[in-house]
């Protein structure tokens, strides 16, 4: 057979060229005899492809059969038998295992040769090594499978849609999975996805498509679909129009990703964040978040309220900002670098209950108690932020201070009561024996005058002691329902004649003023004391003495900061002057017995302590406001309701 082909090749130039081409294409050929079940001829390339030695073709050969890969053997032999039985051509691809152990893919095409005497007896076939092709195909298949897997995992589908034909040209399997449609569903004419789009999102999708079709803009949209199974899914679609891809046809190429899970997590996160945010927002405590540099990055409404700033003013401010005016409990400045937040940022340690006084922009001083909490990124040593929370303790401090003051006054009262008792005993012989002695002295004489002066001094001492007792005695008011207006008139009629004419007296009694259960004589004493103090503060220079009386309802919030006050209806008496005013130290001490700013001899220092004693005994309260050079105002509150008498256990 070889010889005959060579002969043909030699006789015809075209045959030679063909042979050459066969060699180059490594195309093997063979002839197979059905009756003998063996090859009856083949070329060198065939032997080479099968890994047989390039010996001259002499022996009978069973062809590829003994070399067939076990996985392919059945199929190939079956095909052979079928082709032989039917006298049919045959096209096969199969693997062989060559003698050297190498596995090769072969493509074997054969067809029966005409046999004029009966059914075909011989087949002529060609064999080509397609191992490389198969390997590339396999690689491609694997890479496509990987991509499909990735798309499935990412719930990412792609499609091609023909605008002119109004149908999908291509849809990936994942597309059906996402849409909840059976994969075997055929590509239908018409869009069967659009009806699934959530009605609320449809308009946006159409709008984007219109824009895309008008000027080639990309579609990039999140929308919901309602699947046939009733489930709602969030999709993210990115698509663009490829023009002229097939002639003048316009085709959308797009991807659709199911982002429902992302959306669910996002919404859960958002809800959890909102929950936390609303908790922080609703808190009465101020909460701020400060970054590594101490700048405020977040603050709740209470923080703004307590600090007296707007949210905008707070944001970005650092602890070092010179606009903070903060003081310590002892009144010393509280520098920014020692603020609790800054200490926590440096040390990574929390701070607890640090008291800070802070001047608000309106000039008022608020006291806050601060806690800080460091924040760390996982695995980091240094804190990157600090949460600083604070409570306003101004009222509490004020109530504590009032309580301390009232306890102090009470103990002074007890002490003063004891002293007064002793002094009264001492005054007995001083007065009594002096009187007895005077009687025995001549009418006119130095001794008598001297002893009379002793009596004058003793009388002054007696009055002083009486005042001390009035201060220490707090449970004696003989209370009856009294009207304040006539009392004020009465006191004014006493005070007015003795005041300097340079003092202008005004008084206004509001009709809202309630009657109060009180000891008229004691209230009288309070008013006289307050007015004479006011007059003294203005001195000869004069000024305005203003008395304002009204009824007020004191709320819990007001009473909280004042020791012993209970909410309810009160009569408020405010006595103010335009005198020299008082500094803070003086304001703090004015209710102490014997504390006086008047020069010796002008006052006993008992007046305001007596007022305090009386007001306390009536379950009332007294406030003082004063500014040096501007004047002073005392405000007294007397309850319009009856409470049990207040006893302080003073000894007299």
């Amino acid at each position: 057979m070889n010889e005959s082909l060579v002969a043909i090749g030699e006789s015809l130039g075209i045959e030679a060229a063909l042979l050459q081409a066969q060699k180059l294409a490594r195309l093997g050929y063979y002839r197979w005899s059905k009756s003998r079940q063996q090859l009856i001829g083949c070329n060198d390339e065939y032997r080479e492809l099968l890994g047989l030695p390039p010996a001259p073709f002499t022996a009978r050969s069973p062809g590829v059969e003994p070399l067939l890969h076990c996985d392919d053997r059945e199929r190939v032999l079956h095909a052979h038998r079928a082709a032989e039985a039917g006298g049919l051509p045959m096209q096969l691809e199969f693997r062989i295992v060559r003698a050297d152990g190498e596995v090769r893919y072969l493509r074997d095409y054969s067809q029966p040769e005409p046999n004029p005497g009966g059914p075909p007896e011989t087949w002529f076939g060609t064999v080509q090594d397609i191992t490389d092709l198969k390997e590339r195909e396999e690689e491609l298949r694997q890479s496509r499978a990987a991509l499909d897997q990735a798309a499935r995992l990412a719930k990412l589908a792609h499609y091609r849609w023909s605008i002119s034909e109004n149908r999908y040209l291509e849809l990936s399997d994942t597309f059906f999975e996402i849409m909840g449609l059976p994969i075997e569903r055929p590509l239908m004419a018409g869009d069967y996805v659009d009806p699934m789009v959530h009605p609320d999102d449809r308009a946006r999708l159409i709008q984007q498509r219109t824009a895309a079709e008008a000027d080639g803009r990309q579609i990039d949209l999140e929308y919901r679909i309602v699947r046939p199974d009733g489930e709602t899914r969030y999709l993210h679609e990115i698509a663009e129009i490829k023009r002229g891809e097939v002639g003048a046809e316009e085709v959308y190429f797009g991807t659709v990703q199911d982002i429902s899970e992302q959306k669910r997590i996002e919404s859960e996160l958002r809800e959890s964040e909102e929950r936390h945010r609303s908790v922080v927002a609703a808190m009465a405590d101020g909460v701020v978040l400060q970054d590594r540099e101490g700048a405020i990055r977040a603050a709740n409404a209470s923080a703004a309220r307590i600090l007296g700033l707007t949210a905008d003013q707070i944001m970005g401010r650092t602890s070092m900002d010179p606009r903070w005016r903060a003081i310590r409990e002892d009144g010393e400045p509280f520098p920014g670098d020692s603020h609790p937040s800054m200490l926590t940022l440096q040390s990574g340690e929390p701070c607890r209950d640090v008291i800070m006084g802070i001047y608000r922009p309106d000039g008022t001083l608020g006291w806050i108690s601060i806690n800080t909490h460091p924040m760390f990124h996982p695995g980091e040593q240094h804190c990157h932020a600090v949460v600083c929370s604070f409570t306003e303790v101004t009222d509490r401090r004020r109530a504590e201070a009032e309580l301390r003051q009232s306890q102090k006054l009470q103990s002074i009262g007890t002490l003063a009561g004891g002293i007064a008792h002793e002094l009264n005993n001492l005054l007995v012989p001083i007065i009594g024996l002096t009187e007895l002695t005077i009687e025995k002295l001549p009418e006119r004489g130095k001794n008598r005058t001297n002893l009379n002066n002793v009596l004058v001094a003793a009388e002054r001492a007696r009055l002083l002691v009486q005042n001390i007792l009035a201060f220490s005695r707090r449970d004696t008011p003989n209370r009856q329902s009294i009207k304040i207006e006539p009392l004020i008139d009465e006191v004014l009629s006493i005070v007015r004649p003795v005041l300097s004419t340079t003092i202008d007296i005004r008084h206004k009694i509001d009709r809202s003023t309630p009657d109060i259960p009180a000891d008229a004589a004691l209230i009288h004493q309070v008013l006289i004391n307050l007015m004479s103090n006011a007059a003294a503060a203005m001195g000869l220079k004069g000024g305005l003495l203003d008395i304002a009386v009204s009824g007020v309802d004191l709320a819990q919030s007001f009473c909280r900061s004042r020791a012993g006050l209970v909410p309810g209806r009160y009569a408020r008496i405010r006595v103010s002057d335009s005198g020299h005013g008082m500094d803070e130290e003086t304001q703090r001490r004015i209710f102490e017995p014997f504390f006086t700013t008047k020069k010796t001899g002008d006052g006993t220092g008992m007046g305001l302590s007596v007022v305090h004693g009386i007001v306390s005994a009536h379950n009332g309260a007294i406030d003082v406001e004063s500014e040096v050079g501007r004047g002073t105002a005392f405000t007294v509150y007397f309850p319009a309701f009856t409470l049990p008498l207040r006893n302080d256990g003073a000894l007299g």
């Binding site: 007995v428 009594g432 024996l433 256990g649 007299g652």
Partner: protein, 131 residues
């Protein structure tokens, strides 16, 4: 009370100077004065002397004035007693007003002058005589 003997007054006070002063004032008006420096002594003197009037300080050691007052009235329900105080109170109790409530014949507040003491003493003794 008989008028044919001198009117006697018991002054009970823990303060010696107060006792001396009252003795001088009362003696200057012709009264006879006994002294007691505490409640117990006051009871003892009262038993022995049966004075016409007792001026009793209500804040005293050993036996306080209120208890003494009650014991004196126990000895003689008609005993005339002036309760005397220098602004007395202890804790929640105002002894002076208490004594007044339980029936002291008079309340004398320290310090006092001679005239007021004699006026009060004279009035109480006079009331008694006319009674």
């Amino acid at each position: 009370m008989s008028t044919d003997r001198l009117t006697t007054i018991l002054v009970a006070d823990d303060d010696r100077l107060v006792r001396i002063t009252l003795r001088k004032i009362l003696e200057s008006a012709g009264y006879t004065v006994f002294e007691a420096k505490d409640g117990a002594e006051a009871i003892e003197v009262f038993r022995k002397r049966r004075p016409d009037l007792v001026i009793l300080d209500i804040v005293m050691p050993i036996k306080d004035g209120v208890r003494t007052f009650l014991e004196l009235r126990g000895l003689d329900s008609k005993a005339r007693i002036i309760a005397m105080s220098a602004g007395a109170r202890s804790g929640k109790i105002d002894y002076l007003s208490l004594t007044k409530r339980i029936g002291a014949n008079g309340i004398l507040t320290k310090p006092f002058n001679r005239a007021s003491v004699l006026a009060m003493v004279g009035q109480i003794l006079l009331d008694e005589k006319s009674a």
